[in-house]
């Protein structure tokens, strides 16, 4: 199992943003961080993030991952975990 902390904020409910922890079975093959988010979203549909091309071209999924800025769709999980 790996833990992923995701920065969450729902302006209708939350006074401040906060970190929420999700547990995730270590995938058998190396996946991109975007794919990990997609799989988490299947379990918790309230997770939100931008994404479009899923191949590092459009810039939608720029995010801060373990302290480094990057595009989730071309950041392999193995490179941050």
């Amino acid at each position: 199992m790996i833990s992923i902390n995701i920065y969450r904020y729902n302006p209708e409910k939350d006074q401040f943003p906060y970190m929420q922890t999700y547990k995730f079975e270590q995938p058998k093959r190396d996946i991109m961080v975007l794919e990990l988010l997609n799989q988490l979203k299947e379990k918790d549909p309230t997770i939100s993030y931008r994404r479009s091309c899923r191949e590092g071209v459009c810039g939608s999924d720029g995010m801060n991952i373990n302290g480094k800025n990057g595009l989730a769709c071309i950041t392999p999980l193995s490179s941050v975990h």
């Binding site: 729902n10 209708e12 979203k41 309230t46 993030y49 931008r50 479009s52 091309c53």
Partner: protein, 594 residues
């Protein structure tokens, strides 16, 4: 959340609404903004994140840079042949002859094309291109900005739209068309993804430029946002769709990931090999080899795999060999491909071949239109328009691509017909054209499915229904098709329909609710998939991208025509193909070989 109706949502009014901020939408809006009409571009993603940004290889056009003798008529001939003779020849003629103007306009707007040594626009060879009406060998007709042509084109158009004062409704999601009692389109209902605010966007003309729907398949080169929303909205409103059986499978999707590697790789001298290292396209297309039409190459690859000559442990893909081109050529002309291969296939094409497999790529079908973008309705003449509704780009079916699109012809289609629609709408509105208002009931009607979703308390989960849908399409409506399999597919879809009508929206929040976005996208995907399935089953022949094992031959007697899918009766009609170009004689159907 309370039930939405015409009195509790606001109205935003424009002269023209362009739904879609990709290449086609922004070329349309540019023309309109220049003419002073109050124009809004509505896009569910920031415009430069539209799928056009991913286009790699280039824009095909006879600008006579690589070959001073090049002629738009040769390009027209190739396009007609590529379409397997169901492209409309008046539209193809218009695209190929107006094309150079549209490409030079882009150059002057600042699109940073690659250059030849003498400073002219660089053109590369692409599949299906010939000189002298097929008699003069391979042509080089695809204008390129390295392998990032779409990126360059989209950013150029965005900057010019900003300059001309187009309004942008960024990250607004269009849900459904609003039609008045006269069956005129008066706009859309849409919501701001950021805030959740819903509005009636009202206009005298509404242009659907919502792009393709490759996500109906589980394996596709298309962006995650390519969910056919415009077509879904049109089908829900009873508006027909044309040639929906015609889906292009691109020969070179990266095995496993689906990301595209451009045909430009083969244009620059790359070729496909099987497990024995054989350049197998020499057997299937002795003249054009790896640069035969995409449908031909994709089928040849599948046959190699089926006959046991595939590569890898499961023998389920082939290789694209590029290393013989050398590091210098690859880094200069195909830098993006080198990056993509390293990221998604873990191979460096400078040293190793890329594993590839035919992957769903492009929707030749769409909302039927004339060359001005006016959308046709179903009528006895098949030539009556829906007032207020236009469509351009991949969402539309003009039809210049017929049964098989040639590489580089989509970007040209976007800018030529985006411009044409803009010019037409400008003239029509300035000479008093327009539509009547919608009333309260009309707007409430368009809010119905959004309300139903918002109020759902139980039902089916979006992600699992989506997966089910994509698997049905992948299994039964792929590169090769068969009547009995497709019947199974059609009945599986009928079961999925019930789930689509009863989705459970788990997240009811207002701000940046992508659960809601994905639920509506799934409903649109379904409409497109159903149209595809029924059209595929009923076209009983093989033509272009539509290859049936049970009807292996082209049947010009019965099917030299467009198919026209009527969503109300879920039945398939026919529409005549145009064989009346204005400046040249029509190209009569011939057997198509490469």
């Amino acid at each position: 959340m309370s039930t939405l109706n015409s009195s509790n949502i606001k109205t935003l009014e424009f002269d023209v609404l362009v739904i879609g901020g990709g290449g086609s939408g922004m070329r349309t809006s540019l023309e309109l903004a220049k003419s002073g009409l109050k124009t809004a571009v509505v896009s569910k993603v920031f415009p430069t994140r539209s799928h056009t940004v991913s286009a790699q290889g280039g824009i095909t056009c006879a600008i006579a840079s690589a070959d001073p003798q090049d002629d738009w008529r040769w390009h027209m001939y190739d396009t007609v042949k590529g379409s397997d003779y169901i492209g409309d020849q008046d539209a193809i003629e218009y695209m190929c002859s107006e094309g150079p103007k549209a490409v030079f306009e882009l150059e002057h707007m600042g699109l940073p094309f690659s250059r030849t040594e003498n400073g002219r626009i660089y053109q590369r060879p692409f599949g299906g291109q010939s000189k002298d009406f097929g008699k003069g060998g391979q042509a080089s007709r695809t204008c390129a900005a390295a392998d990032r042509t779409g990126h360059a084109l989209l950013h150029t158009l965005y900057q010019n739209n900003v300059k001309e004062g187009s309004n942008f409704l960024n990250e607004w999601f269009a849900v459904d068309l609003v039609l008045n009692k006269l069956k005129e389109v008066t706009g859309v209902v849409a919501f701001s993804i950021e805030s959740g605010e819903v509005a009636y966007l009202k206009a005298q003309a509404t242009v659907l430029a919502t792009g393709g729907a490759g996500r109906i398949y589980s394996s596709t080169t298309n962006a995650l946002i390519n969910t056919g929303d415009g077509l879904g909205m049109a089908l829900r409103a009873g508006i027909p769709a044309q040639d929906m059986e015609m889906w292009q499978f691109h020969p070179t999707g990266i095995y496993g990931a689906g990301s595209l590697v451009t045909e430009g790789c083969r244009g620059e001298g790359g070729y496909l090999i099987n497990k024995d290292g054989e350049r197998f396209m020499e057997r299937y297309a002795p003249n054009a080899k790896d640069l035969a039409g995409r449908d031909v190459v994709a089928r040849s690859m599948v046959l190699e795999i089926l006959e046991g000559r595939g590569c890898g442990e499961n023998k389920d893909h082939v290789f694209l060999k590029l290393d013989h081109l050398g590091a210098d050529v690859l880094n200069a002309k195909l830098p993006g491909i080198c990056e993509l291969s390293k990221t998604f296939a873990a191979v460096d094409p400078v040293y190793e071949p890329i594993p590839v497999v035919p992957t769903c790529h492009y929707m030749m079908g769409g909302t039927p239109t004339n060359i001005h973008g006016q959308a046709f309705k179903i009528s006895s003449s098949n030539n009556d328009y829906i007032p207020g509704l236009f469509s351009v780009g991949e969402a539309a079916c003009v039809s210049v691509h017929g049964a098989n699109r040639l590489g580089g012809n989509s970007l040209l289609d976007l800018v030529v017909f985006g411009r044409a629609a803009g010019l037409h709408i400008n003239e029509a509105l300035k000479s008093g054209g327009g539509v009547a208002d919608a009333d309260k009931d009309d707007i409430d009607g368009a809010l119905h499915s959004l309300n139903k979703l918002n109020e759902s308390t139980s039902g089916y989960e979006v992600s699992s229904v989506k997966r089910e849908l994509q698997e049905v399409m992948q299994n039964y409506f792929g590169v090769f098709r068969r009547g009995d399999y497709m019947e199974k597919g059609v009945s599986a879809l009928a079961d999925i329909r019930e789930k689509i009508d009863n989705l459970h929206l788990q997240d009811k929040s207002a701000a940046f609710n992508t659960n809601r976005v994905e639920a509506i996208e799934l409903q649109n995907l379904f409409e497109v998939a159903e149209a595809t399935a029924i059209s595929s089953l009923q076209r009983t022949e093989s033509r272009g991208a539509h290859a049936r094992e049970d009807y292996p031959d082209r049947d010009d007697e019965n099917w030299l025509c467009h198919s026209l899918y009527d969503p109300t009766s879920k039945s398939l009609g026919k529409r005549k193909v145009n064989f009346e170009p204005k400046q040249v004689d029509a190209f009569p159907p011939k057997i198509r070989t490469y």
